[in-house]
Symmetry: C2
Subunit: 503 residues, 2 copies
């Protein structure tokens, strides 16, 4: 019963309206600041979603809750843009039967970003309303109540925050720099671009798990507080743990492999990984989300490579199918070419990549790792030659990979390891792991690793271990590169780097 | 081409067999220790799953990979039980056309838990084979190769590890204590009980997310390294963070709420939460997996309570439908009543719960929190009266809840908060949160909290915040209580408590 609820709320508001409105205000019950919603009542009122306000609803009376995106008073009228996530609609408060001039003034004074409940009639617009997602209708306001007020001074303007950089430069209009965005993340996350980025990121996680569960994988949960640094001692955060100290896991590597030794056969996990690296680049975070896979195979690690590559392909396809709106929204602010990939995924050997780079004038050794610029250059060369933004580089030099990487039986200088790339940047690193405790011990010694520290790890392979391989994907990187963005802080809700620990 | 691959592998093995077998062994190509699988080749061989070995496959020749679960030599025969996850089959190596006496001896000497490849013919069993999941068939072995050897001394026996405690006590047979299990977790996780527990746990996560995504929720990723303790200062782990120090998040509380303030409306996250509590009980861990929900509502927090309760009901139903095998497997070792629940979920007010306890003779004050024994007693009383293992207790005393809990507008001593219980133990705690910065400041002061430390939190509500509520669920507790287990360490793969940090 909207009217009953309206009355109930009206009583709460009356005293507040007495301050600002004349006693002869015929609309005084129709607007005001609601008392704080404390679950006083359960009104039987349906709130309609802004995205559902279309011409089909013309002339219907509806209740809507939204934020005041902009507001512009003009004589006896006030034009509001009411926003809800990625959607918005124009609302008109005009002096007349339902609204007094006090009510129009009240509406015009509501601060931007405040949340309001509006009762209004949906009217077909005379002409397309530019700047709104609902271009064919507007809302004629009959009641307006403030549910939650925003302070008048916003730390950043949403319109500035979605302006393409180029446009801002050309017109001398404001854009918002990254630190201001991140310092005021709750406002920055309200922009259509941010809403789209993180809905799509949620979709990546969903597609990753959907695909793997369909392939028979089991989700595991691995501990983040660990007693020994998982990948050697460097770049690890220390935690005080009661009377002793511990570390934050740099990857779920050891635990994924233990699950394979414990017969789970195909496992994945999604969770935070921690790197105490003092790297201040566009693609490094000290805490990021790892999408990790580990899988026992029968005879050849390419069985695993194929599964991982197909999982990524299923993600790319699913995003195309289900998140087209979000992709378009982001591209308005950050234009980029649609993401291209092949089926099956292109797989090159490391030596082929090196050959392509040399042909392009790069000088590098056979056993040298790819520098970031060379990675990017190779990405461009591969794109030119094969027309794909996604490919696998297989058989890395043994020397540049972790000690637990399985050597290539056919060539002592290479290994059964691989990276995967999106738009020329690494998003996954993986390998066949050594499942034999003796060889693992030899390789650890060769790398100068203290055997005592990795004893539990090596012991995991002493009671029968199947051959296995896997890899870890950086979620923020996949989101960034799929959308053609340029900084991983855009795709982490609350990024952590050596200089940022808040909000 | 199995034969070609067999030859290839045979060559690798020949030298090893020369030590142990006579030169006149007519079967010498048919068994041995395989060289380490290093992805040397991609044989075109199909490995059949043990669970698919049924009478329909009788007289077919198949390749199978599995672990030696048990082995028993008897004259010219050796009976093996071959295991693959929760399934196993009897395999027979008998002197004859395919196997020499050296081969039978070789098979009999393979250590338990070693992984082997077997080529054999599926034969209908003359009588049901007790102790195997595949009771109607056995495998007549023609070739057997060891893929990965287990050391002869196992730290625990799988058969002991799945024995019900009662049976062990009655018959004087061994069971395995918890520390031995956890110290040797990769072996303990191979038991049918552990396999079932963690497959079901993976299912809980899947059902939780499936349900929420269907309800329009977005998955978020929240940081675990934070600059200020999220729930006041107590029980928090400290991390050294470059030149400063930081904390491990005790919950995603602040970040979930920031996402609500940032217009995501309905969010969930699955991730580790950390509690530096020195509690050594059956249900406390220092690191556990939180299934967290936060949701903006229109007028009443029961809109959220209903969504959360329905999500749990969907999980319970999904487990019943999809994980019946796992439930049965666990109940063989840990018998318990099937989990009961009502639709819609029973919701009692706290004062009703207190009244039931008082009627049962418990003395307690109106504003006193429930002790663990009283929680359990109330669970039994509710079960007797309403026949449900799952219920909600609503409207907790304000005094026993965190400062950000919304007070009940109708009663200054109670609050808009709730816990949910499974089999008499709390699995979720939640509330309507205060979304008004002024009231939040008052309540924080009342609790004696340093306002400076929670400034960023309070500031999040200054730019328009919708009313919202939520809750956090402990994954390990849900798994434990659904299955009627008695220790949360059984449902955490690698549990962390004040005394355990490994493996």
């Amino acid at each position: 019963m909207p009217s009953a609820a309206g009355r109930g709320q009206g009583q709460d508001r009356r005293s507040e309206n007495e301050d600002s409105s004349a006693a002869d205000d015929y609309a005084k019950e129709r607007y005001g600041v609601s008392s704080m919603i404390q679950s006083q009542e359960k009104p039987d009122r349906v709130l309609v979603r802004i995205k559902d306000l279309t011409v089909e609803k013309a002339d219907e009376e509806v209740w809507v809750r939204g934020r005041i995106h902009t507001s512009r008073a003009k004589g006896k009228q006030c034009f509001l843009v009411l926003r809800q996530q990625q959607f918005n609609i124009q609302a008109l408060v005009a002096v007349g039967q339902h609204a007094s001039k006090q009510m129009v003034k009240f509406a015009a004074n509501i601060t931007k970003e405040s949340i309001v409940d509006i009762e209004g009639v949906v009217r077909k617009a005379h002409q397309k309303i530019g700047g709104c997602t609902q271009q064919d209708v507007e809302l004629h306001v009959q009641r307006i109540y403030v549910i939650s007020s925003a302070e008048p001074r916003l730390p950043l303007q949403l319109d500035d925050a979605v302006r393409p950089e180029v446009e801002g430069e050309e017109d001398g209009r404001a854009t918002v720099n990254q630190d201001t965005r991140l310092d005021n993340r709750i406002i920055d996350l309200r922009t259509s671009t941010s809403q789209a980025i993180f809905c799509l990121q949620s979709g990546i996680c969903q597609l990753f798990r959907e695909t793997l569960i369909r392939k028979g994988f089991v989700e595991i949960q691995t501990p983040k507080i660990i007693s020994a640094a998982s990948e050697g001692g460097a770049n690890v955060f220390t935690v005080s743990y009661f009377k002793t100290s511990a570390y934050l896991a740099q990857s779920p590597q050891l635990y994924k492999q233990m699950c394979i030794c414990a017969d789970f056969e195909k496992v994945f996990c999604v969770g935070p990984v921690f790197r105490a690296e003092d790297s201040n680049t566009h693609r490094h975070l000290t805490e990021f989300v790892g999408l990790d896979i580990e899988m026992a195979f029968n005879y050849h690690y390419h069985e695993v490579v194929d599964e991982i590559a197909d999982t990524l392909v299923q993600i790319f396809k699913g995003l195309q199918e289900r998140f087209q709106t979000e992709i378009q929204t982001v591209s308005k602010q950050f234009p980029c070419e649609p993401f291209k990939f092949l089926e099956p995924t292109l797989r090159l050997e490391y030596r082929e990549g090196v050959a392509m780079l040399r042909e392009a004038g790069v000088e590098m050794g056979d056993e040298e790792d790819l520098s970031t610029p060379n990675e990017k250059l190779l990405g461009r060369l591969v794109k030119e030659k094969y027309d794909t933004d996604f490919y696998i580089l297989d058989k890395y030099p043994l020397a540049v990979r972790p000690f637990y990487t399985m050597p290539d039986p056919a060539n002592p200088k290479t290994s059964n390891s691989y990276d995967m790339f999106m738009r020329g940047e690494e998003i996954l690193s993986g390998a066949q792991r050594i499942h034999d405790p003796q060889l693992l011990t030899e390789r650890a010694k060769h790398h100068g690793i203290d055997l005592e520290k990795i004893k539990a790890y090596i012991d995991s392979f002493r009671f029968g271990a199947p051959p296995h391989a896997g890899g870890g994907i950086g979620l923020e990187r996949v989101t960034m590169l799929y959308l053609g963005l340029h900084n991983v802080r855009q795709t982490s809700m609350f990024p952590r780097d050596p200089k940022r620990l808040t909000p």
